[in-house]
Structure formats: C-alpha cells, structure tokens
C-alpha cells in the first residue's frame, strides 16, 4: 500500500481528493442550506456540453467544461431570480440540452476514443499537475469569498428577504454561490465524475449539518468529513481496482447509513 504513494499519479489523486473535498465541503454547505441541490445537479450535467465542445475544438477540457458550467450557472441564476414560476422546468431543460450538446460534439469528433466514462464517473488516473494548480486556485478563491463575505452570504442564505432589506445584494451573492458551485462541480468531475458529484455535495454536508450549530462550523466539518470519505474511497478504488467515483460515493453512503442508525440510537437512549 505504501509503495503506491511513491507513484506520482497516486500523489496527484490524493492531493486532488483533498482539494476537491475542501471545495465541495464549503460550497456543498451553501448549496444545501440554500436548497440549490437541483440547480447544482443541473449545472453538473450541463457541463458535459462543455466537455464535448472542448473535445471537438481541441481546447483543454477543464477550460471548456469550466466556461460552459459558468455559463450554465449564470443562465440558471437568471432564470431562478427572474422567473419564479416553473423555473425548475427550465433547469431540467438546460440539464438535458447541455448533455445532448456534449454527446453531439463527441460524436462529431473524428477518431475520438478517450474513455467517456471517466468524465461521467471520475478517473483518478487523469489528474495532472495543471489540474492541481487549477483546483488549488479555486479552493483559494472559495475560502477568500466565504471568509470576507461570510456575513452577507449567511444573511442571504438564512433570510434573503431580510438581507435585501439590510441592503445586501441578494442577486449578486446568489449568482456568486452558483458560479462557485459550477467551478466546484468541474473540479469534482475529475474525482467522482459529473453524475456522482451531487452525492459528494450532499452526503458529507447532511452529516455535518446535523452536528453543527453555525454555518462556518458546518463548512469546516463538511470539508473534513468529505476528505475522509474521498481518501477512503480512493484507497478502496486503488485496492480493488474499481472506479473512484463509485467507491467514494458508496463509502459516503455507507457512512451516512451508520450515522443515521447511530443518531437514532442516541435519540432513543435520551
């Protein structure tokens, strides 16, 4: 097992796992308390359109996916902020159209034979040094934003009507949260894939929420729990040679079941 740590791709995967966990712990907390899980799912799937376009035009896939995901986030922010009625219908639409665009452009690309599954379900083998820099930069941006604008984000998340009354721009912070969600989804694609990313953005967060009495402690705890799940999942993935995304999600789900049973028992005994 320890000899595995000497491989560069394993080191990269572990660092990526930690960086993604920090980002998804913080942003996942914001997604959950703002009830944006469906929106995040929409952004995740839409980003596949960016992957397809990037493959077709031969630009870096990270860049293509990021631009497309951010565009999807802005579109979804615009729709949910301005079209309260049936906005979920439009998000479902964007979700499917994004994926369709991705599949179309992958089909059109001549001689393309890279494993598509790796984008859908994650592939730790593919993490490069550049990816790590991109992830680290995003984590830094996320930490900066939630540190310096914590109280605005807290006010918007807890009671947006009151935040508006106190002069906080709800639309701005709502959009920022969605754009950061989009970028988090993109880096998480490397580790868990775009279909399973939603579990990473919810399972550790659900556990942390039940153990926290403030948003920042929920964010920190989510990041820690997420890191434990991700690293355990990567270990399982390496040991049994299974897809990283699947093993991380199943490890998380198993832990959630244990958590739910334990909290039931504790409640019963009190």
């Amino acid at each position: 097992m320890f000899e595995a740590l000497s491989y560069e791709f394993i080191q990269n995967a572990l660092i990526a796992g930690i960086l993604v966990s920090i980002a998804s712990g913080i942003i996942g907390s914001l997604i959950v308390v703002n009830r944006m899980v469906f929106l995040a799912g929409g952004i995740a799937h839409t980003s596949y359109g960016g992957i397809g376009l990037a493959v077709y035009f031969g630009i870096p896939i990270f860049l293509g996916a990021s631009l497309f995901a951010v565009f999807a986030a802005l579109l979804i922010a615009f729709i949910t902020l301005n079209q309260k009625h049936r906005s979920d219908t439009f998000i479902g639409l964007i979700w499917a159209v994004g994926m369709a665009i991705g599949i179309l452009f992958v089909d059109l690309t001549p001689g393309y034979n890279v494993d598509l599954m790796s984008y859908l379900f994650g592939s730790i083998l593919a993490v490069s040094k550049e990816d790590l820099w991109f992830m680290a930069a995003l984590v830094l941006i996320i930490i900066t934003v939630v540190t310096f604008w914590y109280r605005d984000i807290l006010a918007v998340s807890y009671d947006s009507e009151y935040a508006r009354l106190r002069g906080v721009s709800v639309k701005t912070f709502y959009t920022i949260i969605l754009v950061l969600s989009a970028l988090t989804v993109v880096i998480a694609i490397k580790i868990v894939g775009l279909i399973l990313v939603i579990a990473l953005l919810t399972i550790p967060i659900y556990i942390a929420e039940n153990l926290s009495n403030s948003l920042y402690s929920m964010m920190i705890l989510s990041a820690i729990i997420s890191t434990i799940f991700t690293l355990t999942g990567l270990l399982v993935s390496y040991s049994f040679d299974i897809t990283s995304g699947a093993s991380i999600i199943l490890v998380s789900a198993l832990a959630l079941i244990v958590f739910l049973i334990l909290s039931k028992i504790i409640k019963y005994n009190n």
Binding site: R151, A155, L165, G167, N213, L215, S217
Partner: protein
Amino acid sequence: MNVIEIKNLSFSYEKDIILENVNLHVKEKEFLAIIGPNGGGKSTLLKLIIALEKPKIPSIKIFGENPSKNLTSIGYVPQNTNVNTNFPIKVIEVVMMGHVGHKKPLIGYKKEEINCALGVLEQVGMKEFAQNKIGSLSGGQRQRVMIARALCSHPKILLLDEPTSNIDIKGQKEIYNLLKELNKYITIVVVSHDISIILEYASSVAHVNKNLAFHDVSKKRKFHANDGHFCEVELLQMLGEKHV
C-alpha cells in the same frame, strides 16, 4: 412630522388588485395597528413600505424619500418566523444580521456589534440563549429574537407583521409591553389579528381590506368594561360597522 406618507397607493399581483387608492400618514412616535381580514392586503402594505414590493407609481414616502433610500431606518419583523428552522445558525448570528449593510469589519464581527446584539437580546429577555441554535427555540422565543434583530440597526420605525401569532398569552403581553417601551422613541406599526391587545396599546388603527380606513384611537381608550371584559360593541361602533 409624518414618518410614513402614502398617497393614492394601488398595487396588484398580476391581475388581482390587492390595494386600491390607499392613503395613510403615520406620525412620529405613533403606535399604528393595521387590522383587516386575511388576504386583505395588510402584509403587502408592509412589504411596500419596506420596498420589498414596488408599486407601479411611486406613492410612498419614508421621511420624505423613496422607501428604498431609507432601508436602515426601518426595522422589520417578518410574519413567519418558523421557516428555515433547521438552518445551522446561532441566535446571536441571527440578531447580528440586523447590522448587515452597515460599515463592517473585514472579517467577522466587531466587538461593539456583538455587545449591541447582546444588549438587544437582553432587552427582549433572550440573552441567555445567545449561543443556542435558532432551531432549538420555541416559536415565541424565536419571535423575540426576530424583534431583537430588527432593533439591532437602531431603527426609527419598527414594522411587525403578526408578531404574537406564535406566542402564549403571557408572552404576548410581554411583547406588547416591550413595544410600548420602545414606542417612547420609535414609531411602531403592527399588523395583527388581536384587536383587544392592539387597542390597549395602539394610538391609531388602520383597517385594510383593499381600501384603508384610518381611525385615531388615542383619545378613546375605554374598550374594557368594569370587570375587565373587552367590549367589542364600542369598538365596532367607533370603527364603523362597514369596515369590520
């Protein structure tokens, strides 16, 4: 001096007319009670005053200006304080939201903001709960926290939407005594169903049901018979039967 001035205000959601031709003047340090049936437009009127909703034709002035220019001089206690109770947030953090939008430090909260929040919590009798999670409080306790939050920005007008709907009788009295105390230096506007309590404390009453009828009740305070029983008949006569 009029702190709130409404002239010929009409408002509708899509095709449903909510308010029609409403006129209202609220003087400084007035204690105005807004009563009326459900769906009559009481809450909408409050939301128009705090600029959460905007009329097609600007017809509201707060201290002589548009409502959106005077947001910090108004404290607002929303109607439903039972939403989002699972949110991981401490009582003191909720109260300090009242500060948001003021000059604030780079990170976290200033010492005086924390002290101010603890001060208003003490005022509403909730200081010992400052570090508790908001979801662990009862409806009545949560309402007092929301009042503390509204007081945090030192408002000149305090608007409350059904402040006592989740509170037991003893708590209701406490809330209204607190409002009476606050009324010594700020204007208070309360939406409520509870006519008996309102009329003990209010200096004027506005009945809203699409239209608005205004009544000065500051001189007439005898709505209770000798045995302390609340006498509705007198109230009905005074407000005019067509409005109640």
